[in-house]
């Protein structure tokens, strides 16, 4: 085949793929901006005749949407921050030292990623009930933290392995302890990796549904996914409000992912190749 035809085919393929990937998001955004009567009228409008924010106003009226946003933010940010703290400590040790049980601990981290998580869902509920944490945001913060420790450790370990160990050795010769060397010398170099791990953890927390559905019943404590879940039950036909809710729920993660994509790709590949 002539190179130019080949290039043409490639461009066509990329364009087709672009349309297929972007269209669903486009469609939900467009639906959320249509007046109620246009959502359910024929022929379907691929470009609204009329734009309105009614659906967005509606969703704040029928629910405490701002509270759900606040709850989601609080839980997602706190859990991600705690994960970063704990996983940085363990990832550094796993990257720099060989010791007895090293391999087994690494294996344990990987195994948690492969288990069907729902087996633990019911016992976790009972455990939370024993700790008197049902209907509290604390239950979610704990569970999200634990859920993300293994993967974040694996990811951060990949980043640590790329920082030459001569860096902290030099600092230690200058009189730093290992911990201060880690804090003062290594962490600053690692910031892009830490930021992307944080964003990854945040996105996971922001999206988590089933634990939140199990643990949270109180209207004032619901996170966004739980609220969307109860919308489906209550307002299954109100696709205007559902679309608006979906758009509001995806904005933060889409923006963050666009920002951190490059770092996450690097971190993941490192994790996949070297483990």
């Amino acid at each position: 085949m002539k190179p130019r035809i080949l290039t043409g085919l490639k461009v066509l393929y990329l364009a087709l793929h672009f349309v297929i990937m972007v269209f669903p998001l486009y469609w939900i955004v467009i639906t959320s901006l249509k007046p109620q009567k246009d959502i359910f009228s024929f022929p379907l409008q691929y470009w609204p005749k009329q734009f309105t924010l009614d659906n967005y106003i509606q969703i704040f009226k029928i629910s405490k949407f701002h509270i759900y946003i606040f709850n989601s933010l609080l839980v997602a940010v706190l859990a991600a921050a705690i994960v970063i703290f704990i996983a940085t400590l363990s990832a550094y040790v796993m990257a720099r030292f060989q010791f007895r049980g090293h391999k087994q601990i690494m294996m344990a981290f990987f195994v948690t990623q492969m288990l069907p998580g729902f087996i633990a869902l019911a016992p976790l509920y009972l455990l939370m009930a024993d700790l008197d944490l049902i209907n509290s945001r604390m239950s979610l913060i704990i569970c999200y933290t634990v859920m993300l420790i293994p993967f974040s450790t694996i990811m951060l370990r990949g980043f640590f392995q790329r920082v030459p160990s001569s860096l902290e050795e030099a600092a230690m010769i200058d009189g730093c302890s290992r911990l201060t060397a880690l804090l003062r010398v290594i962490i600053p170099v690692m910031l892009p990796g830490i930021a992307s791990t944080f964003i990854f953890a945040f996105v996971q927390n922001w999206n988590e549904l089933f634990m939140a559905v199990m643990f949270i019943d109180d209207e004032a404590l619901k996170t966004l996914p739980v609220a969307m879940n109860s919308f489906v039950m209550k307002f299954d036909v109100d696709w205007g409000a559902m679309s608006a809710g979906t758009v509001l729920s995806v904005i933060p993660t889409v923006v963050l992912f666009a920002f951190a994509q490059r770092f996450i790709v690097e971190g993941l590949t490192q994790g996949a190749e070297k483990g």
């Binding site: 297929i20 601990i105 569970c143 999206n207 089933f210 996914p225 729920s249 995806v250 994509q261 190749e273």
Partner: protein
């Protein structure tokens, strides 16, 4: 000697928070879940918790819904994985060489990865809608169909529809992973192949493919497990309906927990899933002859 002991203390203290938390909130509940599989453990009947041996498994294997979920799981994993992989690989190969606007393009086609499966389910539920759905509308405009298809309400279509949504979701993962692997192939390997006068197909077969094979094996193995374990798209899209025709094992398990409170039965399904996963992993590593992939 003192330094060594100090180092050991440092290692121990650093790992302690992670290991303690995992022990309490992952491994302990998990083991408890496995025990539950052999118990009559129903949330609404907690006074009647007792060991019943393999009864939950017997009941499950006699249940048509469970058997259907087994075959559905196989379809779900096989077709989702195959198409995600093939499309992801083709994209990665095209995107390997830099071109103007590549970064922006990747941002647009990879965003699906940042969404939750549940919301993706909702979005596709709206698009697949038999009355107002845009997919029916588009197909009719092109002239491919003349009556609307009940993508999610017609049992013949429902399973294919959820798989389509899942393929859409997972392409980005493979494209990202394979792209990263392709970019790490050393340039001098291609230079050597050029000197030998290899064409582009020869180069792919002899240089590119062997180099990215470990990534391919690791990603397809892991991804198959995740697809098998994750019910969120199905939950958002059909919730197993119509009449249980789109349940896979993990969504059926979730169904037993959320709607039935039947932890015993849910755990039995979960233990069955672990059994399948172990067999699959062993088989996979044997076929691909790569024991090393598991050697993290």
């Amino acid at each position: 000697m003192i330094a060594l002991r100090k180092q050991r203390t440092y290692i121990l203290l650093s790992l302690l928070p992670a290991l303690v938390l995992l022990l309490i909130f992952t491994f302990y509940p998990f083991l408890q879940g496995v025990v539950m599989a052999f118990q009559n453990y129903v949330l609404f009947d907690l006074t009647n918790v007792r060991f019943i041996g393999f009864q939950n498994f017997v009941t499950a294997f006699q249940d048509a819904k469970f058997l259907k979920a087994m075959t559905n799981s196989a379809y779900w994993v096989f077709f989702s994985l195959t198409f995600q992989f093939l499309i992801g690989l083709s994209l990665a190969l095209i995107l390997r060489k830099p071109f103007k606007g590549r970064g922006v393009y990747q941002g647009f086609i990879f965003y699906s990865w940042a969404l939750s499966g549940f919301l993706i389910g909702l979005i596709w539920k709206w698009m697949f809608n038999s009355q107002m759905g845009v997919i029916n509308d588009l197909l009719m405009r092109i002239g491919l169909i003349d009556t609307r298809i009940g993508f999610l309400s017609d049992p013949d279509w429902a399973m294919s529809s959820v798989i389509i949504a899942n393929v859409w979701y997972g392409i980005a993962f493979f494209a990202i992973m394979l792209l990263a692997a392709l970019q790490s192939v050393p340039a001098d390997l291609y230079e050597a192949a050029d000197m030998d006068g290899a064409g582009s197909i020869r180069k792919f077969v002899n240089v590119t493919f062997p180099f990215i094979l470990p990534t391919i094996i690791a990603t397809t193995l892991l991804r198959a497990i995740w697809i098998f374990n994750d019910p969120t798209i199905i939950y958002g899209l059909t919730n197993g309906g119509p009449a249980g025709t789109t349940h896979i094992l993990s969504s059926l398990m979730l169904d037993k927990i959320i709607y039935g409170g039947d932890y015993g039965m849910a755990s039995a399904i979960g233990v069955t899933m672990i059994g399948i996963l172990i067999l699959y992993t062993i088989f996979y590593l044997f076929v691909t002859k790569s024991e090393k992939v598991g050697d993290f």
